[in-house]
């Protein structure tokens, strides 16, 4: 862990927070723009660096997110999606591409958000929206995966000295 890598992780955490801020103004359900950064971290480094970036993003988001329920949904969704992204990536290795991992990530981000909403509301009614949100996460996951795939090459080229693989 050199200084350059620490700086890079901090910048990525800032980027993830910025994307989170921007997506709060876009009314598409299940658009987890910060998953682009999480995916890049997962593919350039490992699970732990991605987890650090996710936790830093949650801390930075405390500054501009007014409602605690949105933060709770994002936290539960982010942790769940990162766990399953890593699970699918490491267990399927060559048979899954970045887009598949991103699909898994966006699906579980939304499932985590619904679980968080059920916990907050103490009411199972929100499960009514599950199929629509799942369909929406299909499209957003494809988009996020494509975006991450396109930036991966440039990202690796720019940060050759501080990336493990």
């Amino acid at each position: 862990m050199n200084i350059k890598k620490i700086f890079l992780l901090c910048i990525m955490a800032g980027e993830a927070s910025l994307l989170f801020f921007i997506e709060s103004y876009i009314p598409i359900p299940g658009l987890a723009l910060s998953n682009i950064i999480i995916l890049l971290a997962l593919y350039c480094y490992s699970y732990w660096e991605a987890l650090i970036i996710l936790l830093l993003k949650l801390i930075i988001s405390l500054i501009f997110i007014r409602t605690p329920s949105i933060l709770f949904c994002s936290a539960v969704g982010g942790l769940l999606s990162l766990y399953f992204m890593n699970l699918f990536k490491s267990s399927f290795k060559e048979n899954i591409s970045m887009i598949g991992v991103s699909l898994v990530g966006s699906t579980f981000q939304n499932i985590g958000g619904i679980i968080a909403a059920i916990i907050i509301l103490q009411n199972l009614s929100i499960l009514f929206y599950l199929p629509i949100i799942l369909l929406s996460s299909l499209f957003t996951g494809l988009f996020i995966g494509l975006a991450a795939k396109l930036t991966l090459k440039k990202f690796l080229k720019l940060n050759q000295s501080s990336v493990t693989h």
Binding site: I70, F92, N95, L103, T107, N123, S125, Y129, I132, L135
Partner: protein, 116 residues
């Protein structure tokens, strides 16, 4: 696009479409309906309505207000001071089991049938 990607896409598609199919096939529209309103995880109010009821009222809590409109057997949240206004964008609900959720205000509005 590798093989597991296709499995994932297929699983998500089949799961969501089958849930939607089950809902569409079991949707029953009753004439006498009850609107249940839950605020802050507690039961707040119950309103009976049918296809002829036309009502507009406000639900106020310390988190904010929502204006609920009942018209020709359908319910919608017509206005609210919540931050994301997601509850307004959902539009009308009418079938038993459907609900509108306002997450910032911890409010759930649910339609069920009148069995009494």
């Amino acid at each position: 696009m590798k093989i597991i990607d296709k499995y994932i896409i297929g699983t998500i598609l089949i799961t969501s479409l089958s849930i939607i199919l089950c809902r569409v096939l079991t949707f029953k529209n009753y004439d006498q309906k009850i609107l249940e309103i839950y605020v802050n995880n507690n039961f707040y109010q119950e309103i009976k309505f049918d296809n002829n009821t036309a009502k507009t009222f406000m639900i106020t809590s310390d988190l904010g207000w929502n204006k609920i409109e009942i018209k020709s057997g359908r319910v919608q949240i017509s206005d609210s001071d919540c931050i994301d206004k997601a509850c307004i964008k959902i539009g009308f609900i009418e079938n038993s089991g459907e609900s509108i959720v306002c997450l910032p205000h911890r409010m759930v509005v649910k339609v069920s049938e009148d069995r009494r």
